[in-house]
Symmetry: C2
Subunit: 362 residues, 2 copies
């Protein structure tokens, strides 16, 4: 993997990645020319015991692009700069123009609950130069490069003092609020371990201390022993499964077979098989109902809080938006107000539907 780091005129960073060397002389464009002044802060939610992020500067954006404009397309006209330059790069990452978390976040005013600056990072990951592609439709080596990029960002962001957790994710589809359809994901680097990760890590830690084994590795082994009834992809080094305890319809988890805590610790071969598992799931999603399948993709890994996390096992969780064609799954009273997910479909049934979809990855 090759990488160059560039600085945009407004001070933001841009990283370009490729599998072959990148030329000298690339320049970082920006649709915005003024220095970026983030103003977000965090407030403590005493009843839930968690941080809430306020980025109220996002409502007062100085730069308002026209709705059909694609800031993730390469800059063709220097008079109308986008976020990425022309050139032989394959994946690009840049700091979000309106970040919820930023190393530049100022000290917030006092409040009746604890507050702190919204430090950390919000980055955009441009998956490809092709605005009409999709993550699952990219060639396998491009998906593998994206996994390498996530690992590189995890390493670099995780080394920062103000970052305790690096969270790559993708929101796909208008159904989950996406207005920009050029294939891209995001990375949030939080200055604390977020609640969902903290919860999963606590369960994993208790299991590890009790058994000396990984909780997810044990669950994956049980999935295989259970006639692999819910297994969607079974590679030499990676698996994809509709978990027996799926909270969302057609929820799928992708994980390396080995209990590796985070992306940077995967071997090259593991990353490639992890990419193949991801691509297999995404192709099945899109082929199942013959239409782009909206989802949230969340990558969970070990915190970068300076401690070792032998209990952690890096994995991706896909949360689809639909429960059947044209029928959204809403998170209503029970899910939002009580935290109890209710499913109308059994994981065995959604797994069978996904298993039946034939796709060719290589």
């Amino acid at each position: 993997m090759h990488r160059v780091h560039l600085r945009k005129p407004d001070g933001r960073s841009l990283w370009l990645y490729a599998t072959t060397p990148l030329p000298e002389g690339l320049e970082a464009p920006s649709p915005n020319q003024q220095p970026v002044v983030p103003g977000s802060h965090l407030r403590w939610h005493p009843l839930r015991g968690e941080w809430v992020a306020y980025a109220s500067h996002r409502q007062h954006r100085t730069f308002l692009p026209p709705p059909e404009w694609n800031p993730l397309a390469v800059t063709r006209d220097p008079a109308a700069p986008t976020e990425v330059p022309e050139g032989p790069w394959q994946v690009a990452v840049f700091e979000n123009l309106f970040p919820t978390l930023s190393p530049l976040a100022p000290d917030p005013p006092d409040a009746i609950v604890e507050t702190r600056p919204g430090r950390g990072a919000c980055e955009v990951v441009v998956f490809t130069q092709d605005p009409g592609a999709s993550l699952g439709g990219l060639p396998l080596d491009q998906v593998a490069l994206i996994v390498d990029v996530w690992a590189d960002r995890t390493r670099e962001l995780g080394a920062r003092d103000d970052v305790e957790y690096v969270f790559p994710f993708e929101n796909r589809g208008v159904e989950v609020g996406v207005t920009l359809h050029h294939p891209h994901g995001q990375i949030y680097a939080y200055p604390f371990v977020p609640p969902v990760a903290a919860r999963e890590l606590a369960e994993q830690k208790a299991h590890f201390e009790r058994t000396g084994r990984g909780l997810l590795a044990d669950l994956l082994a049980a999935e295989l022993r259970d006639e692999a009834r819910r297994v969607i992809y079974s590679g030499e080094l990676a698996l994809a499964v509709v978990p027996v305890c799926a909270r969302h319809p057609y929820e799928v988890w992708v994980a390396p077979r080995r209990a590796v805590p985070s992306l940077p610790e995967l071997t090259h071969e593991e990353r490639v098989d992890f990419a193949r598992a991801l691509k297999t799931v995404l192709m099945k999603y899109d082929a199942m109902w013959q239409r782009p399948f909206p989802y949230i993709m969340a990558l969970h890994q070990a915190p970068t809080d300076g401690r070792v996390h032998p209990e952690a096992h890096v994995h991706v969780e896909f949360y689809p938006a639909y429960r059947m064609p044209g029928r959204l799954k809403y998170q209503a009273g029970s899910e939002s107000g009580a935290g109890v997910f209710t499913a109308d479909t059994l994981p065995e049934d959604t797994a069978r539907a996904l298993q039946a979809v034939e796709v060719s990855v290589d």
Copy 2:
């Protein structure tokens, strides 16, 4: 409050409530005539440490009403029975025809994670006989009666051995998945303390043990001391406030001033002022943008797990669907995948907007 309990032809219960005595001879109709056979079960989610409910019989409903049919309207034609009879009742409660939780749930088959029957209850609360009304638009004494009904159901359901938590809620609007617009809420009675309630109770308990005071009562006192900047309703016995740590845009909490653990322990006067606070918030919501305001309303109170909960403080949390007119707030990667809520608006600003809306409750 007066109440009669009736049995539907399919075995389900119906309770009718009114402030004046109800006549003899009321009969409980049902659009369904066959005995109800629920088949839901719970599976343990080892990574999150929580139960997930599967009600796969809901996908295979034998009774499929036409889309425009209103099962919550009173039965006018005995040949087309609905869920509620004619008569002078004001609020009706019945067991859901397709419950996610039911006392009749059978033992589930084994799985690779722990399972248990989906015991508990799912009830529908019909707020009024008027299909065109809304909770906030009802007269104050009707809203107060609904609070009394929630208290009555909490008492009765909470006394059951298979119920550890009684959760009244309302989903309002197509934006949160509601297809039936007759004003109604629901009550889920869980056989465990659900994760959100458990989290809030743990924080409240730690605070109570440290200080001898209620966490929410202390927060409400701090809200009042902070120039009541975010206070929406300040009654003698109840408050409504945009909490300083709001996770949702225009989120509002309604609570009695006194740290009462659950609804049945409120005095009559407290319930009336609680109802007035609810109605004030709801009228402001609908008047603010001159259109029905979609939301999830969640009522949190003490568990019914046989322990005392002096740390609990009953309250309602409203989670609105929109962040501005026509712009839904999505729970995407950060919210769903990491559990970190990000807000574009400050609680002070949404509170000011709600304060500016003048409504007359009495």
